[in-house]
Amino acid sequence: MTLSRSVLYGFVALVLVWLMIPVVIIVPMSFSDSRFLAFPPPAWSLRWYEAYLGNAAWMQATRVSLIVAVASAVIATVLGTAAAYALNMTSSRLVRNLQVILFLPLVVPIVITAVSIFFVYANVGLLATMTGLILANVMLGLPYVVTAVLVGLRKFDPAQEMVSRSLGMNRFRTFFIVTLPQIRPSVISGTLFAFISALDETVVALFISGGEYQTLTKRMFTALRDEIDPTIAAISSLLTATSFILVMLLSLNARTGGKK
């Protein structure tokens, strides 16, 4: 028993280490002095951080990506939570089957999604616009939010809503005062997934973003065709660090919120 246990945990540890490897080696690569991506780096320097932070085009792309990721995560959270709430309370089979549509963005191969969005945008003039980017990422984020919130709602005891409504509160107040605080961790995890998916989204951005409104990933992809240098490692390290801090803050918030 103990032997099989230790074999199991040993194997799991190996898998987890393997998962971490690329994430971990990117940080030292970003401090490299070499013009090419190399590991281990031959010498150390901050030049790739300077190359990134001192370049107006990179900064503009970063701004675009952050605005798109935050805006689309927030909008997807609102729309996705509303949709999940509706799906949860309905007794109609037909309506429940509609949820298949909401999961399409996750299961349709991303290139096909990109082609679809490109086609729509080319016809309505949303190519290379901020609105277009945000809308597309709202759609891609919806499945994550709906999934997370539905899971939260399923754990939530509907009797609590009944009680509060029998006390005379209307549906909206009940939702915000009784339901939302309890499903908050689910909503936050949905938001986070929508945020990451928007920040990391590359394929759709390749098709629909351009000009002034290029996302960071699109710029990285085209820059990599031009030069494979450690700038992308520097960008990635900074982004990982930023998101990490964000998650820490949010999970701290979620925990204290839950205790209250």
Binding site: S34, R35, F36, A38, T222, A223, R225, D226, E227, I228
Partner: protein, 346 residues
């Protein structure tokens, strides 16, 4: 005080508008971006702007062709002059997106050989697909041309070619014994047959210039067909990499003007000025690509040592083959490109 400031601002903006109306000469120039566009901004665009007293607005597009088509479709393009693979100028001209050039107004173009011109385009700068190799691996017996690239007995090692038929088919034919000046029209079947021989020995079919440089710098591939500027950059970083212009496939990008361009007259003036020998001779100061105007080599601005590193210098051009963009934009060329994908995957 506040009133006064507004008045001043108003007046000065009116003045600026008036000045703008006088100095209306401007064009939008499009190139392929990155280090290449930065280099030519210093080498060509700034001197030309000064020479003509015009404003050059820049845009960049690594693959201009779809954009050209889209702009042409609207009938009101926003670009004037593009620096793009010659093929796009020619097929664009044939499909009515690109204006015919009036060479009477481009006197500087008379320095260029006829091969460098088409009714729609004129050569702008040269690069070459050369054979690059790992110096550590081959020591004092480096490969000399495509026949050596194909010789896996004499030159063992990993190989990389571009995942694109242009220049690659030519290399295969040269390796198969076709003389450099008798390549066209390409014998496509023969080229693919010859490529089939080397295919099992190719470790990477690269898709971007950056990738070919990384392959050389990391020693991932010992023999690589790569663009000369890329190889030179890797060499400068101290990697043990060498290359030869022998059997190199000389290519050039061209300048062409969009049909219904917003500033057609200034565009023609720009094209002529960009071909000025003295200005063309600035290219090698900033990047390892060669001037298109051979007269640039007579200006004294390019040292003999530097000329030896440039693809278009007379001595180097003599040992290379000039890629025919005209053939590649012909139906046979388009068909060869279609055949490529199934060749690679099979």
């Amino acid at each position: 005080m506040r009133m006064k400031f507004t008045t001043v601002a108003l007046l000065s903006s009116v003045a600026m508008l008036a000045a703008g109306a006088v100095q209306a000469q401007q064009i939008t120039f499009v190139s392929q971006g990155g280090a290449y566009q930065e280099a030519q901004t210093k080498a060509i665009l700034n001197p030309v702007a000064e020479l003509l007293g015009i404003t050059i607005r820049q845009d960049s597009s690594p693959d201009a062709w779809p954009v050209i088509r889209t702009q042409a479709a609207t009938g009101k393009p926003i670009w004037d002059v593009i620096d793009t693979p010659t093929k796009d100028c020619i097929r664009g001209g044939e499909q009515g997106f690109i204006e015919k050039l009036d060479f009477a107004q481009i006197p500087n173009a008379s320095d260029l050989p006829d091969d460098y011109k088409s009714p729609y385009s004129v050569a702008y700068e040269f690069y070459s697909s050369v054979l690059a190799y790992n110096k550590d691996k081959y020591g004092d017996k480096p490969p000399q041309g495509w026949a050596d690239f194909w010789d896996v007995e004499k030159f063992p090692g990993t190989r990389a070619l571009r995942n694109h038929p242009l220049a690659t088919l030519e290399a295969a034919l040269i390796a198969d014994g076709v003389p450099r000046d008798k390549l066209y029209p390409l014998d496509v079947d023969r080229a693919f047959r010859k490529l089939g021989e080397i295919k099992p020995h190719i470790t990477v079919w690269w898709t971007s210039g950056a990738q070919s440089a990384q392959l050389l710098a990391d020693g991932e591939a010992d023999l690589v067909m790569a663009w000369n500027g890329r190889v030179a950059a890797v060499e400068k970083e101290g990697a043990p990499v060498g290359y030869t212009f022998n059997d190199g496939l000389l290519q050039f990008t061209s300048l062409c003007i969009l049909k219904n361009a917003p500033n057609p007259d200034t565009a023609v003036k720009f094209v002529n000025a960009a071909l000025t020998p003295e200005i063309q001779a600035n290219f090698p100061t900033y990047i390892d690509y060669g001037p298109a105007n051979p007269a640039a080599y007579d200006t004294g601005k390019i040292s003999p040592e530097r000329a030896a590193q440039l693809p278009s210098s007379p001595a180097n051009a003599a040992v290379q083959a000039l890629v025919s963009e005209e053939w590649w934009s012909s139906p046979e060329g388009e068909e060869a490109q279609r055949r490529w994908a199934s060749f690679i995957q099979r």
